[in-house]
Amino acid sequence: MSAPLLNVHDLRVIFAPAAPGQPPARVVDGVSFALDAGDSLAIVGETGSGKTTLARALLGLHPAGSVSGSVQLGGQELVGLDEGRWRPLRWQRIALAVQNAGTAFDPVYRMGEQIGEPLREHRGLSSAEATARAAALVAQVGLTERHLRAYPHQLSGGEKQRLMLAMALSCDPELLIVDEPTSGQDMLARAQVIALLRAICAQRGTALLLISHDLAAVSQLAGQVAVLYAGKLAEVGATRDVLSAPRHPYTWGLLSAYPDMSTARDLSGIRGQMPDPTHPPTGCRFHPRCTQAVDECRRVEPPLQLHNGRRLACHLGGLRALLRAEGLRKTFTTNGHLGPAQNVEAVRNVSLEVYEGEVVGLVGETGSGKSTLGRLLVGLLDPESGSIVFEGNPLALNNGSASRHLRRRIQLIPQDPFDSVSPYLTVCQIVREPLDVQRAGTPAERRERVREALAAVGLPTLDAFLARHPHELSGGQLQRVVIARALVLEPKLIVADEPVSMLDASEQAKLITLLEDIQNERGMGLLLISHDLALVRKVADRILVMRDGQIIEGGPSSQVLAQPQHEYTRALLRAAPSFDWYTTSSGGNRP
């Protein structure tokens, strides 16, 4: 096996503090990866994760002393080279198309001169030869002589982006680093740049290091992807695997925050913010934002290592299944006074998983067994067979006390709020009830938690409101009270069974948004049961379709909605309310 073209090991870029006495900025902090000749690797991450800094470090553009570790290009060590040694490497072997092509050109020279400049400097070409080469390059990126003669200010951002690529290719480098080639461009220009890059790499065999937060572009351009978070790699793997089945909680969050033509879910960001490089968190850098962080995460830094075939930096081996149910079965027996006793198999051999911070939509028509499944999961019903594992602990079928403790971390929001609360209790009592049952805290603390829960669902926390009874509330308010009750124990998983079906459309929309916000902020899992596909598609990361007690189809929302496999799903989709314009048989316009 030959050595990779580019081998980066434990690369660090640490900037000296702006003022003495402050900590230095650890912008890139121990990054390792390799890239073979002709291959492509994408580095993705939120803004400020250190992508550009990393790219510049590979060209030795940072001030001396701020870069440590090792970068080997074809076996030659680059870290620590002096400027004189760097010069012949730059552009001839590694070229960089910078993030901001708009300001990347010297305003006082014509484009042709700037594109030809490295050829004259490195290859000793005459002015005429360099211009001829530049013309060929410019043609390759789909531009003309006119663009060659133009000054930078006379060109559009997209044109400059392409000219930047042409310039980067001028000396035919082995490695092309492209920083955000698609940012700030319209869809068409973006598609052209992607096609162009693909063609270039295919024709010339140039290795591509793509820096981007445009995950769609990454999926089209890079074979491998490395996810950078706060200067460290969180997950590395084949692009297809990582983007279709993200395993690190950060990658997962990044993907669900990503607007993509094929996702249906409303966007939700990752809670919290990227830490400042001068004050990186201890342990796992992602722990303040991670929904499944455990104590170890705060103390010990997780190494990037193989977990079930994927390189991840996570103590828990990546995203954990919050809830894993297997082979659940529930049969109801009707003792028919009208006929022989009948068995109704409400839930037949159902297995499902809900991951940390995930919203799973469970859809199906009336009577398909959705609510029964929900009640099994929260322990209101006992299954005949099957197992439920929650946060790694099995829930005993017949409520042991340990299991009761676990169960308070799964809460149900029932379908009909009027059904589920006693009309004689006040708002305060309704919300406090779970706390009373669990005997959690002093009365004063309980009251405080009641107020917090009410505030979280956007209800007033005045004493007058706390003293109201259910009949004094609107449907929407009562449903919020019920949600507050579910939240008061700070559950990890909420099973919401048709939580908004009793409400009008506008109140539905508000409540669903509220649920989504709460879910996102607290990082809970949410199993949303509904017959309304239009509603579910707005919030669900994954959709399960249930029919006759079985789950007949499941997958990422985008996939289920775009390419439903099952006829039944297609029928559900057709039935989902949408505007279908009424037309006369002639199909023409009204007279």
Binding site: L61, W86, R87, P88, L89, N100, T103, F105, M167
Partner: protein, 323 residues
């Protein structure tokens, strides 16, 4: 370009008008001395006094004087000195070349030093060289010319006796070769020129250093480095080339300052330029000379601005469209 030409004409008119008004706002008038019985120049004959006033046009209404002045100036006739009784044009022809020699020499030297020093300091920003250059340029540009001039005179003229103390050339000298002549002129020019250069160089240095630092932080400089260009090319071809654009404008704005500085220094070193002429004319309220000198100075400043416009047009392609 049309708009620019029009702008030039309007500024020219404004300058000419100001030139006319300003001397007349000074207290007293040119004939005051002739009319003052206690003055040695007192003219006893009242008829003579009136004819004198008439001769110089001072008895006419101000508007009339203004019209005459404008018409004369445009014809190139700057009038007659009241004090010296010689045509102003002739006086200017005798003194202006000296002033120009001094100003242009100092301006070129200051620009060269400022640009080279500023570029180098910015390139080595934060180094000891940079800090030393910044401090000395701040001192140089804030020291009064009077003070630096005096010190130079005392040290190099009086103490060391290397250079002549005053004048523009050795009186009554006969030069065997042009080389000898040049040496004599240069020796006389040295001290005033150094004084003026010192007064001018600081701001130029600081400006070039600042704009160069700005340019060095630009994305295109990073790209130029990433392209593996040589240091010299980075520094001159890209960085300095861009930093010169604001410098050109500064140079134009500073031309007036340089000229007035030169006038002042000329009186200090008794240099034969327009400095003394202006001083004595102001004391004597010799309107035509003051006006003439300021017309010339203003024309020079305006010319410098036009030149700067043209230069920045050459230097900055972004401006070519704007014109």
């Amino acid at each position: 370009m049309k708009r620019r030409a029009l702008g030039f004409l309007i500024s020219l008119w404004a300058v000419l008008t100001l030139n006319f008004l300003l001397p007349r706002l000074l207290p007293g008038d040119p004939l005051a001395a002739l009319l003052d019985p206690s003055s040695s120049a007192y003219v006893f004959n009242s008829a003579t006094r009136a004819s004198l006033a008439e001769y110089y046009g001072l008895d006419r209404p101000l508007v009339q004087q203004y019209a005459d002045y404008l018409a004369g100036t445009l014809r190139g006739d700057l009038g007659q000195s009241i004090r010296l009784n010689r045509p102003v044009g002739e006086l200017l022809r005798a003194h202006l070349p000296w002033t120009l020699l001094l100003t242009l020499t100092a301006l070129s030297a200051a620009s060269l030093l400022g640009v080279l020093g500023g570029a180098e300091a910015a390139w080595r920003r934060g180094s000891a060289t940079d800090k030393a250059l910044v401090v000395s340029s701040v001192i140089a540009s804030n020291a009064p010319v009077f003070f630096t001039g005096m010190i130079l005179l005392i040290v190099f003229g009086a103490r060391l006796d290397w250079l002549p103390l005053a004048g523009g050339r050795t009186a009554f000298a006969r030069y065997g070769t042009p080389w000898e002549a040049a040496r004599d002129y240069a020796a006389h020019l040295a001290l005033p020129a150094v004084t003026l250069t010192l007064a001018l160089v600081g701001s130029k240095f600081l400006l070039v250093r600042n704009s160069m630092i700005g340019v060095l932080g630009e994305d295109y400089m990073l790209v130029a480095r990433a392209k593996g260009l040589s240091t010299g090319r980075l520094k001159r071809h890209h960085a300095l080339r861009n930093a010169l654009i604001p410098f050109v404008h500064h140079l134009a704005a500073h031309a007036g300052f340089a000229l007035t500085g030169a006038l002042f220094i000329e009186t200090l070193f008794n240099y034969p330029g327009m400095g003394r002429l202006v001083f004595e004319s102001v004391v004597a309220r010799d309107y035509p000379v003051i006006q003439g000198v300021f017309v010339v100075v203003s024309a020079l400043v305006l010319g410098a601005n036009l030149l700067a416009d043209w230069l920045s047009y050459r230097l900055d392609p972004r401006r070519r469209e704007a014109l």
